[in-house]
């Protein structure tokens, strides 16, 4: 995490950007989104990062969507990015599952899309539902989980972003995690 030396600048930019209704991309905001997405997609052991250009564009577009509330601080901004990412990925997973169930996937042209195994280590749609339920009870806990999972942050990062103690975040995280684990089918 870069330290939050210039959050206000970032937020001001974003506000101005949305106010202007500027369709042009703001490189700073874009980069922040891109950085988050890439941090998310980096494998632990290798430094390999997917470029994920389309995903980043999509997340950016959702973030800049003027219907959306403007971020008040950096934490809020990051939460919005994580939220956008969560929406995209869960929507995608949902679509994928629907397609699989529908079985309507005939073999036609250009049959060499990269292999997408389909099976995930964890069902994102179920996770999303459990997370929605948790958010209904306790938004902070849900936010921490969201930042952990959909923005790829460590407990320490989350503490920095939310501006609270690491111990607090860790405890909240453990509670939220145990809760989610107990709510998800094995």
């Amino acid at each position: 995490m870069p330290d939050a030396e210039k959050p206000t600048d970032l937020l001001r930019r974003m506000r101005e950007h949305v106010d202007r209704g500027d369709p042009h991309l703001d490189p700073v905001i874009y980069d922040e989104v891109r950085r988050l997405a890439h941090g998310l997609m980096r494998k632990e052991r290798s430094s390999h990062t997917l470029q994920a250009t389309a995903l980043v564009h999509e997340a950016y577009a959702r973030l800049i969507d003027s219907e959306q509330a403007l971020p008040e601080d950096r934490a809020h901004f990051l939460a919005l990015v994580a939220r956008a990412m969560r929406r995209i990925l869960v929507d995608h997973a949902r679509g994928r599952q629907a397609a699989k169930r529908g079985g309507d996937w005939q073999r036609v042209m250009l049959a060499d899309l990269p292999e997408d195994g389909g099976a995930r280590a964890l069902d994102l749609v179920a996770l999303d539902q459990a997370l929605a339920e948790l958010a209904d009870y306790d938004e902070t806990k849900a936010l921490i989980v969201e930042l952990r999972f959909f923005a790829g942050m460590s407990v320490k990062d989350v503490a920095v972003v939310l501006g609270c103690g690491e111990t607090f975040v860790r405890t909240e995280w453990y509670v939220a995690r145990a809760w989610l684990k107990s709510r998800l089918p094995e």
Partner: protein, 1140 residues
């Protein structure tokens, strides 16, 4: 999840609080369960939930932040993200033209396919649309041209084109093709599903042949035949899809881009070698012969010709290009030699050996089915001759040309003369193409060597290729070859004393068995040297023996045991001579000379041995200077002596002057390091210090390090000092400024925690490579080539100034040594690129504050777009997105101007006047005085992306209709990229000021962030968001190369005025310098020589005409004042050549 056990908010709060306590008090097992019982006695729902949570929390993987659940979630997110990234841009339109879209089917490299429904006649169709992000005039033209061609194809074996059209999208009009929708399975799946026999499979393949041949007869190539593109419908009729639509990667050279798209690998297994190799040879029908052969091969053998699954891309390409598929007979004994021969011929790596048409392949298949002998046979003698001709095409072409010229000379027929001219042009073209192909192949080989970490192979290949290649691709690859870090494990070596040779390219050490070995950096296994006993390579030497390379004579090494000095020729493995000693030999080799020194006799008088001649040099004067001190070592012609009182003395052997240093660490005095000029002395170890001998100044070079310094090395110029620490770190100091400039480290290397006292043992060594400037280290069992730019050519603009240290722009001082950078931190920093030092900085905020309030922009954001030196290098200007600009007089540091400039800053003239590009595209020159008085308004903040391109100053090239980004101009070319998101990703445009209507709309694979023209406009370098530098040839209009620079995006590129260094500024705040020397130097030299010849030719010609003899002409020439002394030898050569 059971919806019935939903908790109320109150219940949830109790659960959360109780569980929080469990965590805070770290309650375990029974304790925790007791607590749960206590807390939830009244509510079994809460109790059961808490117990579930407890079980989940104390699962088998313990309590950590990142447990398996977390890992699983991250993995799922990551996988979904990867999958989503593939599909997400498929925003499915509800309809395309009159067709109702049913679903998205697939996305290829160039286009997207939807399944749709047509109303009249009611049928299912497939609709193919260009991917929006690849939309250019050129791609539309190609798509539509091919569509027209395809629409003409009417064959039962080819999916039909029903219609073509254009549809309105936010990106403009997009062409589409309406195709027959084929409902079926791939040809291989069909054959398996129906369990077809061999003859039925061949019959099926023949129908494919017929369809492909039909297309060929109509002038259409498929170029991408594979089972997935040949579907068989329910009635058993094969249908070929995806015919001939422009392939996106036909003319490019980037494997990186193709592998990133993921499309290439799926296709590679069926791709002809000439396509896989991407030599630029235009594909012909033999590409499809290969394709049909590959499909047939899989039909019969059950697997594709090349199994490349799991191979890295470059390996896979190599497999396809260099290896013939194993024969069918080898795969299955049932296939006879004939059938096997047919497919070997269809799949020949060399296309000359393939069937020259699909019809011929089809004929041979027919012959096989009808039991006739097939045509395919092993290579014939004729083939061998053809290959010979092909390999020597140029020679044969010239031979032919000679014949034609003779005939022309005899008949003097104009027509034939024209033939000769044509033939000559053709021969020249062929020769040029052959050279280019060879260069491309060699560069490709070097590139793949780099990819596989064979750095030395790559640099050797490049050095070899360099004889002809002059492009910047070569320079960049070479920069990378010398820039890639390579860590090699030495299998137990490098734990004993290590000595580098003077050029830093190899080192000498002793292995575990006591054998003295030579380690060549970069590659190769360590080789044993001859031993001290003269017992031949591989003999062991005792532990007390010391060894080193001679400095001047390459390959000579010295081994010294207590009673003998052995000089060996390490190249030949022979003993050159031995010198018996009268006293125990403990000494050292001068790192700068072929001299060995040891203290001899009771007075320990230093004796010098000339290693090459074997003479002992003894200078009695030295003794007087060394009384009471013990000789420690010899360094660059200087003795270093030490006594027990922590004093050392440095005696210069040329004038016997003595410099004394007090209070030193004697351990350090055992292995001192000196720069070549003898100005600086490094005393390493625990308290590493550099002593400047002339001034007596001392500075500590270990203050921030936690580890001993084992060895150090000064760069050739003495401006950089590299230190090897015992923890494996390499630290680079800038000597003149006494600053630490870089720390490089690799976690694997630890050399030794503590050095062993005063013993003369040093188990790690460091050296600068005289050839490449890279740094080599050996120690702890590893040999490392530290990357050049990592250790010496990275400048950190963002030094201590986080968090967004984007380097926005760079500009070289006209003299080529200083570089100005402007970055997010709102400073301009001026760098000395020779030393890597920051000379000074200009603060943009301070300059803004000096502007009168009415001349300050309302929007006070400073997003600096451009930094620019004046033509005379005296002034420096910056312009921000708002239009606010500042100009400084660099040497007085005075602000010459602060305020708005209306127009994009194009050029800064000597004296500080500015040239601005106005909104109309015309350039205007404005003096600073005018600018100060002008009533200018501020530009819109989005100025940068909407500004017109900087036209050549005297002519407008017409505005570019879309957003532009990163202008560059060189020679007659002007280029710019388009805005990465709002413009089309990856698009760029090149204008030619000599031919305004020759505009090239190019497309790169990725987002262009900056552009730089090089080689007088012949090459365009693009800095990409992905951290690559793409190189395009603006004349041939194709991409030459993609250099993977690093992972951060490249936001600025600047080529130094002498063309020797490319500076790149990136999103991580670093400025990297890419040393590009030889090719640039060569072309520069060639240009200068050509200019000189042009200048001298008329003078030389005059003397030749007016003189009677050559001697007279020569004399006149040398007396001619019009010819400058430095031009005389060139003039002489010209004269001699002209007279011959």
């Amino acid at each position: 999840m059971n919806p019935h056990d939903t908790l109320t908010h109150e219940q949830f709060d109790r659960v959360a609080r109780a569980f929080q306590t469990i965590i805070e008090r770290d309650l375990q097992g029974d304790e925790a369960r007791a607590w749960i019982r206590e807390q939830s006695a009244d509510d079994p729902v809460i109790a059961s939930r808490l117990l579930d949570m407890l079980a989940a929390h104390t699962g088998e993987d313990g309590v950590t932040d990142d447990d398996r659940f977390h890992a699983a979630a991250l993995e799922a997110v990551r996988a979904e993200a990867a999958a989503a990234d593939e599909h997400i841009d498929q925003v499915i339109p509800a309809s395309i033209g009159p067709y109702r879209v049913i679903r998205f089917v697939a996305s290829g490299g160039m286009s997207t396919v939807y399944e749709a429904e047509q109303e009249e006649p009611r049928r299912r169709v497939a609709i193919k649309v260009i991917r929006l992000e690849l939309l250019t005039k050129e791609s539309i033209r190609r798509f539509e041209a091919e569509g027209h061609l395809l629409a003409g194809l009417r064959h039962e074996g080819i999916a039909r084109v029903y219609a073509m059209g254009r549809t309105e999208t936010p990106a403009g009009q997009v062409p589409y093709l309406v195709l027959e929708f084929v409902d079926g399975m791939s040809i291989t799946e069909y054959a398996e599903a129906k369990a077809l026999g061999v003859r039925e499979r061949i019959a099926l393949l023949r129908r494919v042949c017929a369809a492909v041949q039909y297309a060929h007869d109509n002038g259409v190539l498929h170029r991408d035949l594979k089972p997935g593109n040949i579907l068989v419908d329910a009635d058993g009729n094969p249908r070929i899809l995806d015919f001939g639509i422009a392939r996106p990667f036909d003319e490019t050279w980037s494997y990186a881009a193709r592998s990133a798209s993921g499309l290439f690998l799926g296709t590679l297994a069926y791709m002809s070698p000439e396509q896989a190799m991407q030599t630029g040879t235009p594909p012909d029908v033999r590409v499809d012969v290969y394709g049909v052969g590959a499909v047939g091969y899989e039909l019969l053998a059950g697997r594709p010709p090349h199994e490349i699954g799991g191979l890295p891309l470059h390996e896979a390409v190599k497999r396809v290009v260099h290896h013939a598929p194993s024969s069918l007979a080898a795969r299955h004994a049932t296939y006879t030699g004939d059938l096997s021969a047919v497919f070997s011929k269809a799949l020949a790596t060399d296309r000359e050996r393939r069937y020259s048409s699909v019809r011929q392949l089809d004929e041979d298949l027919r012959r096989y089915l009808e039991h006739e002998p097939v045509e395919a046979r092993p290579p014939s003698a004729l083939y061998q001759v053809r290959m010979l001709i092909r390999r020597n095409r140029t020679t044969f072409a010239l031979l032919g040309l000679l014949l034609v010229s003779l005939i022309a000379g005899l008949t003097i027929a104009l027509a034939q003369r024209r033939t000769a001219v044509d033939a000559r042009a053709a021969a020249e073209r062929t020769a040029r193409e052959a050279t280019r192909d060879r260069q491309a192949a060699e560069l490709h080989a070097a590139w793949s060597a780099l990819e596989t970490g064979r750095i030395k192979d790559a640099s050797e290949l490049l050095d070899r290729t360099g004889g002809d290649a002059t492009g910047i691709e070569w320079d960049l690859l070479r920069a990378r070859a010398y820039g890639a870090a390579a860590i090699r494990e030495l299998d137990g070596l490098g734990r004993d004393v290590v000595h580098f040779a003077a050029d830093g390219g190899s080192a000498i050490t002793r292995d575990r068995e006591g054998v003295i070995v030579r380690v060549d950096m970069g590659m190769g296994t360590p080789r044993p040297l001859v031993s001290a006993e003269g017992g031949g390579p591989g003999s062991t030497v005792p532990r007390g023996a010391a060894y080193a390379f001679a400095a001047k004579t390459p390959g000579y090494a010295v081994l010294h045991t207590p009673d003998r000095l052995t000089i060996v020729d390490a190249e030949r493995g022979t003993v050159v001579r031995t010198v018996e000693a009268t006293a125990p030999v403990v000494g050292a080799v001068d790192p700068d000379d072929d001299l060995f020194v040891w203290p001899a006799g009771p007075q320990r008088i230093p004796r010098l041995v000339d290693l090459v001649r074997g003479e002992i040099v003894h200078d009695p004067r030295i003794a007087t200077h060394t009384a009471g001190m013990r000789l420690s070592t010899v360094l660059h012609g200087r003795f270093l002596l030490a006594d027990g009182e922590h004093r050392i003395a440095v005696v210069d052997l040329t004038d016997l002057s003595v410099t004394r240093i007090e209070r030193v660490d004697l351990q350090a005095a055992a292995w001192p390091v000196m720069d070549k000029s003898g100005r600086y002395l490094l005393l390493p170890y625990q308290y590493p210090e550099v002593h400047e001998l002339e001034t007596g100044e001392v500075w500590n070079v270990g203050a921030e390090a936690s580890s001993y310094v084992l060895d150090g090395a000064f760069s050739a110029a003495g401006t950089r000092l590299a230190l090897l620490h015992a923890n494996g770190e390499v630290r680079i100091w800038d000597v003149p400024s006494k600053r630490l400039v870089h720390t490089a480290t690799d976690g694997r290397i630890t050399i030794r925690r503590r050095p062993t006292g005063l013993s003369r043992r040093r188990s790690g060594a460091i050296a600068f490579d005289a050839r490449s400037g890279a740094i080599h280290t050996i120690g702890g069992g590893y040999a490392v080539d530290w990357p050049t730019q990592a250790v010496s050519t990275r400048l950190n603009h963002g030094f201590g100034r986080k968090p967004y240290p984007y380097v926005y722009d760079l500009d070289w001082h006209p003299e080529g040594r200083w570089l100005a950078s402007v970055a997010w931190d709102e400073r301009i920093v001026i760098w000395d690129t020779w030393t890597g030092e920051a000379l000074g900085a200009f603060d943009l905020r301070a300059a803004l504050a000096q502007a009168p309030p009415e001349r300050q922009p309302e929007d006070k954001r400073l997003s600096p777009n451009a930094v620019m030196w004046s033509a005379d290098g005296q002034h420096l200007a910056v312009q921000c997105a708002s239009g606010w600009s500042a100009v400084w007089d660099v040497w007085s540091k005075q602000l010459s101007f602060t305020g708005p400039l209306e127009g994009a800053l194009l050029r800064l003239e000597a004296g500080g006047d500015v040239v601005l590009a106005g909104a109309d595209g015309a350039a205007t020159r404005v003096t600073l005085e005018q600018a100060r008085r002008a009533h200018t308004t501020y530009m819109k903040p989005s100025f940068r992306s909407e500004s017109p391109p900087p036209w050549a100053l005297d002519r407008s090239l017409g505005p570019w209709p879309t957003t532009a980004w990163g202008f560059t101009w060189s020679g007659s070319k002007v280029a710019a990229g388009r805005h990465p998101v709002t413009g089309m990703a990856g698009a760029f445009r090149v204008w030619d000021t000599d031919a305004p209507d020759r505009i090239w709309e190019g497309l790169s694979s990725g987002d262009v962030l900056c552009a730089q023209l090089a080689d007088a406009g012949r090459r365009l370098l693009l800095g990409m968001r992905a951290g690559t530098i793409q190189v395009f040839d603006t004349e041939r209009r194709k991409r030459m190369m993609v250099i993977q620079a690093h992972r951060h995006y490249i936001m600025a590129l600047a080529l130094s005025p002498d063309g020797k260094t490319l500076a790149s500024g990136s999103g991580d705040g670093w400025i990297r310098l890419w040393p590009l020397t030889p090719a640039a130097e060569r072309s520069q030299r060639a240009r200068l020589a050509a200019a000189q010849r042009r200048r001298l030719a008329p003078l030389v010609e005059r003397h030749r005409r007016t003189s009677d003899s050559l001697a007279e002409a020569l004399e006149a020439l040398l007396r001619d004042d019009a010819i400058a002394p430095e031009d005389r030898s060139a003039a002489k050569a010209l004269l001699l050549r002209a007279s011959r």
